[in-house]
């Protein structure tokens, strides 16, 4: 697969998203927590630009030992890509939809090499 240089290392700030378009294919390269993730920027729901919205952590309903509701919190270890059109959420780690594992964003491999960041498309 051809590799396309997306940026120099540390060029993208943490949280930044760069869209790479080759012909009709858009791939979003996301920098988060010092790592890079790359996904097809096309939501399986209605075709929205899935990676052009916000990233949010998984929301957790906190319960005590008796099952009583204590409030809500965030699980920062499970960040979600949130499609801006309708709010479909996908795990940042693997692109799988949070609500239906049969749906996913296609993942692309990112390679850091010689001071550059490359995505294999």
């Amino acid at each position: 697969m051809p590799e396309i240089e997306v940026c120099k290392n540390n060029e993208l700030a943490d949280g930044a998203v760069r869209i790479v378009r080759v012909r009709n294919l858009e791939v979003a390269v996301i920098r988060h927590g010092g790592k890079y993730f790359a996904y097809h920027n096309y939501c399986p729901h209605q075709g929205g630009p899935a990676c052009e919205g916000v990233r949010m952590p998984q929301v957790v309903d906190r319960l005590d030992a008796d099952g009583r509701f204590l409030g809500q919190g965030y699980d920062e270890s499970d960040m979600h890509i949130v499609c801006p059109w309708h709010g479909y959420e996908f795990h940042l780690s693997d692109g799988v939809n949070v609500s239906d594992r049969r749906l996913r964003l296609k993942k692309f491999q990112v390679v850091e090499r010689d001071g550059g960041v490359y995505v294999a498309i």
Binding site: I4, A16, E52, V54, P84
Partner: protein, 422 residues
């Protein structure tokens, strides 16, 4: 946008600091081109703007000087996490266009609302859109009845003069102050026939019975003029819905509940027999509720026909003659149910495509166009033909669609180009 010459790759960095509707809907435009929406009319019968953005202008049309002063001082709606109906459409910022549109830049002319409407309509391939307000959908819940009537009149006046008269692609079904039957009559008398007015609308979250004798003159006037009556869902303060502690439930059930209530009352009051020429449209409740209601009411009818002597046919037969907007279409793991629903409601002639843009659960035309169980003619009916017939709409083809048709024609019918229908 940068280009890497070696692969022809193009790059752009995502920023939420600015917002542009055309850019945000770029994928919708690609879908429209790929499906050749330029070949036929698309009418969106339910879309919205945020009249809060034009509220100062709207108050100029308030005739009551005290109301005008108070409205200008206080504004129209107060958002916030503490609102009584638990409204949470934006999902805490996950739907970025809610906040983003405030930053969207528009040219000085035409009116901002017209520019924003054209941007999303052109992206989606929509030719004509029916535009409704947003916060004013809850006006029916204001305890101050003078506010309801006064603001309804002002909004309708502003809408007709500043928007509908300026842009033929934008239509509306005007808000009826349903708490005041006489005001409804005056509204129809004054506004029916104005450019762009294709019907009248009642926000379903209200607590007046549709069979109240006070409304009969309004129904007769609408029937006489051939203008439909729409019932549009909204977030209300229904006591039962207060048992939900998340908006998830308020929306899932609440947006169906009020239309279910009023449609049922419409039937058991015999209104389809009393006003057989008055067409009703039920908006923004999705479709899954309709087969339920058809079955449930038919079952009641067979056992309780003595309670509804005005009905000459089963409830489902009347329902099949009503009109429904498609959004938010329930499409998760339910292909067979959806196909059956379309059959039950006679979708080919009675279903009207709606986006509800810019709201969070908007539907693109592809929600209809990509359904495998519809014929091409059925798709075009639902996407625009049914609305054109119902509202007696002119055919409008925007310039970008004309340009695509011309480009296709230039590529040559000999290459097997598709056929455009007007």
């Amino acid at each position: 946008m940068k280009t890497n010459g070696s692969e022809g790759a193009q790059f752009r960095d995502v920023s939420l600091d600015t917002y542009d509707t055309t850019a945000a809907l770029a994928h919708a435009a690609e879908q429209a081109a790929a499906r050749h929406y330029e070949d036929f009319l698309i009418v969106d019968i339910d879309s919205h703007h945020y009249e809060t953005e034009s509220f100062a202008e709207i108050t100029e049309y308030v005739t009551d000087p005290v109301l005008r002063h108070d409205a200008l001082f206080q504004g129209l709606a107060r958002p916030g996490i503490g609102v009584g109906n638990g409204s949470y459409q934006e999902l805490g910022g996950r739907i970025v266009r809610y906040r983003g549109r405030r930053k969207e830049k528009v040219p000085p002319v035409p009116h901002r609302d017209i520019t924003l409407m054209r941007r999303w309509m052109d992206a989606m391939g929509t030719d004509i859109a029916c535009m409704f307000p947003t916060p004013m959908l809850n006006l029916s819940l204001s305890p101050n009845l003078n506010v309801q009537t006064g603001l309804a009149w002002a909004y309708n006046s502003w809408l007709c003069e500043r928007i509908l008269a300026e842009e033929p692609r934008i239509k509306s079904m005007l808000y009826l102050p349903f708490h005041d039957p006489e005001a409804c009559v005056k509204t129809v008398e004054h506004f029916a026939g104005k450019p762009g007015v294709i019907g009248f609308m009642v926000t379903s979250t209200h607590y007046r019975n549709v069979n109240d004798n006070g409304y009969l003159k309004t129904y007769a006037m609408l029937q006489e003029r051939g203008l439909p009556l729409a019932f549009h869902s909204a977030t209300g303060s229904e006591p039962g819905l207060r048992l939900f502690n998340r908006f998830f439930g308020v929306h899932a059930l609440g947006f169906c509940w009020h239309n279910m209530l009023h449609l049922t009352n419409w039937l058991i009051s015999g209104l389809p027999e009393r006003y057989p020429g008055l067409k009703t449209i039920w908006i923004e409740s999705g479709l899954a509720w309709v087969p339920f209601l058809m079955q449930r009411l038919d079952s009641e009818y067979m056992m309780r026909s003595s309670e509804v002597p005005l009905l000459k046919r089963k409830p489902s037969e009347y329902i099949r003659e009503m009109y429904f907007s498609s959004q938010p279409m329930e499409m998760v793991d339910n292909r067979e149910a959806l196909e059956l629903t379309f059959k039950m409601i006679n979708a080919e002639t009675q279903l009207l495509y709606a986006s509800d843009f810019p709201h969070w659960d908007m539907d693109l035309p592809s929600t209809i166009y990509d359904l495998p169980f519809l014929s091409e003619q059925a798709k075009r009916n639902i996407l625009g033909g049914n609305a054109q017939r119902l509202f007696n709409l002119e055919t409008i083809v925007p310039e970008h669609k004309l340009a695509r048709r011309a480009a296709a024609a230039k590529r040559g019918a000999s290459a097997g180009g598709h056929e455009a229908h007007v």
